[in-house]
């Protein structure tokens, strides 16, 4: 049972509160992603689990055992670093063997396991090279191989894909997912890329200013963001968020008229995903001038503006119209409207 529990942990640097008191349980075999913008405390949280950072208060339990005072080496974890953290003076083989060497595994056995692991991540041909002779993707694989070679009970991954180019990132993402499926090891993964979070995670913890604002499955977070911050952070292109008021059962903003079942209220933000809007002939919920058309290949992003309001929809790839002409958007069937309080960001519906 490789379960990780953070109990009332807190981290301060001098007077600066990096991670306020909170708790989090990562279940056995789970792939948990810590997601948030840079500086939100996600890496700090992971480094506290690793033991690279002391915790100011609280307890960290791994497999039911309190590890606060244990050095990283005694926590039975493996970690993949953003810059890979390879040993520049060792060959690929030595890099992969090093964790085994530290644990006193016999030489022959070490060799065998390193080769097996290298084969798993397709590094067998590069075993005698140095990290400086490898491409970014290959270095990434070495880091991965070094992490899995000794089958730890927990994997920690700190933005492992952020230094790769876009195409490689997608390939490696799939490999990571497959690897997790195959090994079933509890994994904590830090990223600022919501796409990675959505595709990889069993559960996502969205963090902001050191605090976990929502912890749920990717599906749930996408469908029901807990607040304005999560709503804007998840999804690409991001959710349309429109300032307005509700009166007489209708949400109103410039160019917007949407019936909403809710008592009158000022300072409301209406949210709707671009995927859930379509182009309509006229007299629809959203009316304005066409502002921009962006073809993405499989679809066209249609942006219309009316005064301060700006609404984006994912339309058909072959949709064409002239800029600055009138344009109308309507919610698709079953589209979901989200309502948030402007001031607190809290979800209303």
């Amino acid at each position: 049972m490789a379960e990780v529990r953070l109990v009332d942990i807190e981290k301060k640097y001098g007077n600066f509160l990096a991670v306020p008191q909170q708790s989090l349980t990562i279940e056995d075999g789970e792939f948990l992603v810590l997601l948030g913008p840079s500086g939100c405390g996600k890496t700090t949280t992971m480094r506290m689990i690793a033991g690279l950072e002391d915790i100011t208060a609280g307890d960290i339990m791994i497999k039911g055992e309190r590890v606060n005072d244990k050095p990283p080496k005694d926590r039975d974890i493996a970690m993949v670093f953003q810059n890979y953290g390879l040993y520049p003076h060792m060959t690929v083989r030595q890099n992969i063997e090093y964790p085994l060497k530290l644990r006193g595994v016999a030489k022959a056995d070490r060799r065998k396991r390193a080769e097996e692991t290298a084969a798993k991540v397709e590094l067998d041909a590069l075993l005698e090279r140095r990290p400086s002779e490898l491409s970014g993707g290959q270095r990434q694989r070495v880091a991965l191989a070094r992490a899995i070679v000794r089958t730890p009970s927990i994997f920690l991954m700190d933005e492992p894909l952020s230094n790769l180019d876009a195409k490689l990132r997608v390939t490696m993402r799939a490999e990571l997912k497959h690897l997790h499926h195959e090994l079933g090891v509890t994994t904590v993964y830090v990223t600022h890329d919501q796409m990675e979070a959505m595709t990889l995670a069993n559960r996502v913890a969205v963090m902001r200013e050191g605090r976990i604002v929502q912890l749920d499955t990717p599906k749930k977070i996408y469908a029901e963001p807990a607040d304005l911050f999560v709503a804007g952070f998840i999804g690409s292109p991001s959710m349309n968020l429109i300032d307005g008021t509700v009166s007489g059962g209708v949400f109103r903003a410039e160019g917007v008229d949407v019936p909403i079942d809710m008592p009158d209220r000022e300072g409301v933000v209406l949210g709707i995903r671009p995927e859930e809007l379509e182009i309509a002939p006229g007299g629809a919920a959203f009316t304005g001038k066409l502002y921009a058309l962006e073809l993405t290949g499989d679809s066209t992003l249609v942006t219309l503006r009316a005064g301060k309001t700006s609404v984006c929809a994912r339309g058909h790839a072959d949709f064409e119209a002239d800029i600055n002409t009138d344009c109308h958007l309507a919610p698709k069937d079953g589209a979901r409207f989200h309502l948030f309080d402007r001031a607190s960001g809290e979800r209303l519906i």
Partner: protein, 271 residues
């Protein structure tokens, strides 16, 4: 046209600079191979001889024992200062120890204490302990100058190494000391090597301590130079030969670490 002119001008200036820098060195080398009557003329028309080197290594000059003194003093100083400094530099670079700023400040400032201040009490102490004119005495005082300098320099090199690999090693199961042995030392080796050579050069060229603390047995090369000033006047050709002996090993070392040299020189100072 203007561009090529300015380019030519730049090259001409560089040639001039090289000449100014090289001339005194070249002249010393030439003189070292002149017979004594040629040494006192500026003519380049002379028959080269190795006689001066034979002379300085024989009685009464015995440059050989000075070479030995210089080698021993410089080597032992490096062998003590560099390991201690490496550990301290690592600690300064990686840990937020209490009073770290104060301690580092202390180290930095001792580097600027004038050597005369240090040598005075040591002279008295060594006199008391009957240690004047020993290599050990020279090694001890040289440590005073060299250690803070090396700490600072190696810290510059270690600061430049990303901590990722070290953290990876700790997670892979290494203790701090193991991390230092397996990761930090190999990766910082070029920097440590450069610092060692710097430290060697400093000690090798050190003059004030050796002048005061040695008389006969422990005299090092730079002080040995002064002994060529005799009642019959300065023996330039012998001095030059001795100068070549001082300079050649250092030049070889300096050129050997040429690439790191500039970085090393400035690592302590600007960083």
């Amino acid at each position: 046209m203007r561009k090529t002119l300015s380019y030519l001008g730049e090259r001409a200036l560089l040639v001039l600079v090289s000449v100014i820098v090289l001339f005194p060195i070249v002249w010393m080398f030439l003189t070292a191979f002149k017979q004594s009557r040629d040494a006192y003329s500026v003519s380049l028309n002379f028959k080269p001889t190795l006689q001066n080197f034979v002379t300085v290594f024989s009685d009464p000059w015995n440059l050989g024992s000075m070479v030995l003194n210089s080698v021993i003093v410089a080597t032992v100083t490096v062998a003590i200062a560099v390991p201690c400094a490496t550990l301290a530099a690592y600690s300064f670079s990686r840990f937020r120890v209490k009073a770290r700023k104060f301690l580092f400040f202390l180290i930095l400032s001792t580097q600027f204490i004038p050597a005369v201040v240090i040598v005075l009490p040591f002279f008295l102490m060594f006199r008391q302990l009957d240690m004047l004119d020993t290599r050990l005495a020279l090694i001890i005082v040289n440590l005073a100058i060299v250690t803070p300098f090396v700490i600072w320099m190696i810290k510059g090199f270690i600061d430049a190494i990303p901590t990722d690999s070290e953290e990876a090693a700790m997670i892979d199961g290494a203790s701090r000391l193991r991390v230092i042995k397996d990761i930090v030392l190999p990766v910082a080796a070029p920097g440590i090597m450069t610092s060692s050579i710097f430290c060697f050069i400093l000690t090798w060229n050190e003059f004030l301590f050796a002048l005061i603390l040695s008389r006969r047995d422990a005299v090092t090369l730079p002080v040995g130079l002064v002994s060529f000033r005799t009642e019959q006047g300065d023996l330039w050709e012998l001095m030059s030969a001795a100068g070549v002996m001082i300079t050649v090993p250092i030049f070889i070392m300096a050129l050997f670490i040429q690439k790191h040299f500039t970085r090393g020189m400035t690592a302590g100072a600007v960083k």
